[in-house]
């Protein structure tokens, strides 16, 4: 019994210590501006690809990409996106543009549909 309390305490500490925080997007800035974030197709069948392009202005900017579901290929201002049947639904693609002055981001939604229609 004397080990139960220390063990539960340890678990509680780990649960708190390991909580992931939401992404910190850093300081927003007026020195970077995203002009457009567009996709060649906004609805794609599972495993088909769409090309997503982000045009932004700023000095020495870097493009970062993430999505809640799916796969990327490429990098920079243009990227290809595809998602399998695991990711059917409306998926959010986030483009983050940054330099030493700060960071801005925008999102685009891509609807992934079933590979084989019911």
């Amino acid at each position: 019994m004397r080990y139960i309390i220390p063990f539960l305490t340890l678990i509680m500490i780990l649960l708190v210590a390991c909580q992931k925080t939401d992404n910190d997007n850093g300081d927003t800035t007026d020195l970077i501006k995203i002009d457009s974030l567009t996709a060649s197709f906004y609805t794609v069948k599972a495993w088909d690809t769409t090309t997503i392009t982000c045009f932004a202005r700023g000095d020495s900017i870097t493009y970062g990409w993430e999505c809640d579901h799916g796969n990327f290929n490429g990098g920079g201002l243009q990227i290809r996106y595809a998602a399998g049947q695991c990711c059917v639904g409306l998926n959010t693609i986030t483009c983050t543009v940054s330099n030493k002055e700060g960071i801005v981001s925008d999102t685009v939604k891509i609807n992934v549909t079933l590979y084989i229609d019911d």
Binding site: D22, N23, W47, T62, G64, D68, Q85, C86, Y115
Partner: protein, 322 residues
Amino acid sequence: MIKMIRKTLFLLMSIFISGNILGQCCSAGNPFFYGELSSLSKKNLQLVTGYKYGTAIRYFSGSDPIDIKFVDQAWFNYLTFQVIYGLTERLTIQGDIGYFMNKIETYLIEDWVTSKGFGLGDANITLKYLVYSNFKKHLQIVPAIGVTLPVGVFDQEVNHVKLPITVQPSSGSFKYQVSLFINKGTKNSKFNFTLFAMYEYAQLINSENFYYKYGNQLLFSFLTSYSLTRKLSFALELRNENRARALRNDDQTVESSGFSLVYLIPHLSWAFYNNWFVAVNTDIPVYKYYNGIQLSNAFSVSIRLSYTINFGKKDLREFAVN
């Protein structure tokens, strides 16, 4: 002599199977890895290190293969380290940590670059309690509870592009397990049987950019082992893994998630020197059913090395008559 065989067989059995973290190849999180299942005697410390290679090569729709031209092959090379300590004669604590040397997907789409993740996976803490042990009946029952901690890498990027979740080393999710281990010997000291069942509940991941809940998992395993020599054992296991469908944004069910799998798993284990054990096994899927369309597991192979140190008196509690 019989006692020696039983002792060796029991120790080999106890490292054959483990309620470690479950993960389909190749999805986020640690793969299933065999380790210590039983409880240890008081002040016994067991150190386990292991390596696992797993691969997935075909898409399945239900129980049938389907031709999908996307992922060509997926595989991983994985290391694990476990520390197990007998707190009392009945209570054992176990810690596990995993590390992916690599976790790779290659693609059939032209110019699509290989995705490669690596790094620290999930950690796991398990508390096991020996509720029943009877040497005369050759029976031992050990329930356990555990928690998986997503301490590893879940947001790995390459050139500022986030890798797909399937090659992220960590699952990103807390998971909670309850399990039951039953070991039953026979009058023939060379045979031994083990039953293992586990239920795992996955906690919702709800961050700014990601809302996802892995399906809960139910596992059953039946294993029989035979002592070939005093130190060499062979075991055959039948394991059934069932995972429910996942949930995503707005609690939508992910139709192409969840599965029911049956593996046939031969094990070979060898005890050497004092308290050293090495074991190899391979997971061969004999039945696969995937909800929707998913990349399916092919096979995996593991090797595990274990060493036990006794800091207490030189007894083996598993032979104590209840």
